[in-house]
């Protein structure tokens, strides 16, 4: 019996990307307020000649700050368009198994890799740090002074940890030039 894998794939796609609901709702609320104020102001200007004169004076004085206002509006527009167009990936990765969809935060995976590397090389956990980016896993190792660490062992431990979780990825290992006394 197969579960709807389409649903799993859709869930993973949604959970690995930002929803953009918060900025969209903020923009919606701000636009609604501006429109309501503009409608009320328009009605008021229509019925009250004094208000109309005041509005004309205000429009003239506003012309002085027209350029900074316009530039500010363009900057805000660029931010909004970027939010609309950029993919908004989150630092997570997912895969669908036969029965369920598994979603793992990149930080959790990086912790696992660093733990395994530290254990395999027999060094302290604080001497290893790992970062997982979209296409690569970076492992930085600070060896203990005078104790050589095999590059292959580090790579092997990191790859094994990633494969065990089902997210294989190329590993890049870097050693600190100066060791530490542990």
């Amino acid at each position: 019996m197969t579960v709807a894998t389409g649903v799993h794939r859709r869930l993973l796609r949604r959970e690995t990307h930002r929803a953009r609901t918060a900025p969209a709702v903020a923009v919606a609320v701000a636009s609604a307020l501006i429109l309501i104020v503009a409608l009320a102001a328009g009605g008021w200007i229509l019925v009250d000649p004094a208000a109309r004169a005041a509005a004309e004076r205000a429009a003239e004085s506003a012309a002085a700050i027209g350029i900074p206002l316009g530039v500010g509006a363009i900057v805000a527009a660029v931010v909004l368009i970027a939010l609309a167009v950029l993919p908004g990936r989150r630092a997570r990765r997912g895969r669908a198994t036969q029965r369920m969809a598994v979603l793992v935060d990149d930080g959790v995976l990086a912790d696992l890799v660093a733990d395994r590397v530290a254990r395999r090389c027999g060094i302290g956990r604080s001497q290893v740090s790992a970062t997982i980016s979209r296409r690569r896993c970076d492992v930085r190792v600070t060896p203990t002074s005078g104790v050589a660490i095999d590059d292959g062992a580090v790579r092997g431990a990191a790859s094994a940890a990633l494969e065990e979780m089902g997210f294989p990825s190329p590993v890049r290992v870097r050693f600190a030039e100066r060791g530490v006394v542990s």
Binding site: R10, T21, A24, A32, I67, V78, V108
Partner: protein
């Protein structure tokens, strides 16, 4: 986890961004000194004058530009649209995780008891949260697991798979499930790296080497698959009865559920005794 229409979110951001960009550009052009964008400025001023020219007689002596009336109507429609937009965010939340045509539905708390309950007993799991939503007219269960530092994640995933098997056996259908291994929140920094299990269990040192002291590994477990399934089914059935009983204030059902769970535990214990006996036998044979 919800079913919010995300394309609409992005569409609104794009629309407002484009409007804001054109208004900002027009403002800059109009306010700049005349020798800069001279031609463009003239075009904008002419166009706005032309737009304001046709007027509408609203009352005796009061004439308003036609463009103003149209703009007001558009603004009114836009405000209504925005209210509808805000109201439809976050759709798809539901507390029902399974339903059928017969009108039977299962509440999220039952799934939480069966799936998350089994995982909460583990010493290497900090917290489990169950969520549910309706996606593409199908119920979906979400489990957010926070593991302790140094925990064996693959083993936790296997445990989740196992708990889901129990749930499937209970629910009688396969509801799509999303298991999320989440990173620690800032409050999780306050938890210690180890946890002492309550009566009946041993403390599990996780940051040190877990293989020390764990004489029997998972793969060696000889308890037969049939025993395991029976025990698990009893426990799941019992838990569900207990939860249902509590929800409906039916004490009889709660008691029945507890009895079923005890049966499950007994079955499990019997299986372990069998294993232990086998181990003793093996050690003599070696």
């Amino acid at each position: 986890m919800n079913a919010t229409n995300r394309a609409l979110n992005r569409g609104l951001l794009l629309l407002v961004g484009a409007l804001l960009a054109s208004v900002g550009a027009a403002l800059v052009v109009v306010s700049a000194p005349p020798e800069r964008f001279g031609g463009m400025r003239g075009a904008i001023v002419d166009a706005s004058a032309a737009a304001m020219a046709p007027t509408l007689d609203v009352a005796s002596g009061v004439r308003v530009p036609m463009a103003g009336v149209i703009a007001a109507a558009v603004a009114l429609v836009a405000v209504i649209g925005i209210i509808a937009f805000i109201a439809t965010r976050g759709r798809g939340h539901t507390t029902t995780v399974a339903w059928d045509e017969g009108g039977t539905s299962v509440d999220r708390s039952v799934a939480d008891a069966v799936i998350a309950g089994a995982l909460r007993d583990r010493t290497d799991v900090l917290s489990v949260r169950t969520t549910s939503a309706e996606v593409r007219r199908s119920p979906v269960i979400g489990l957010t697991l926070r593991a302790r530092r140094g925990a064996d994640l693959a083993q936790i995933v296997r445990a989740a798979e196992h708990a889901i098997e129990e749930w499937d056996a209970f629910a009688g259908r396969e509801v799509p499930i999303l298991v999320h291994l989440a990173g620690p929140r800032w409050v999780d920094g306050w938890h210690s790296a180890t946890r002492v299990r309550g009566p009946g269990g041993a403390s599990a040192p996780l940051t040190s080497r877990p293989e020390i002291g764990a004489r029997r590994r998972e793969g060696d477990n000889a308890m037969s698959a049939e025993d395991k399934i029976k025990a698990a089914a009893d426990k799941a059935k019992g838990k569900a009865k207990e939860v249902a009983g509590k929800a409906t204030d039916d004490r009889g059902l709660v008691a029945e559920g507890k009895a079923d769970q005890a049966k499950g535990h007994a079955r499990e214990a019997a299986g372990e005794v069998k294993d232990a006996a086998k181990d003793v036998k093996d050690s003599f044979e070696k």
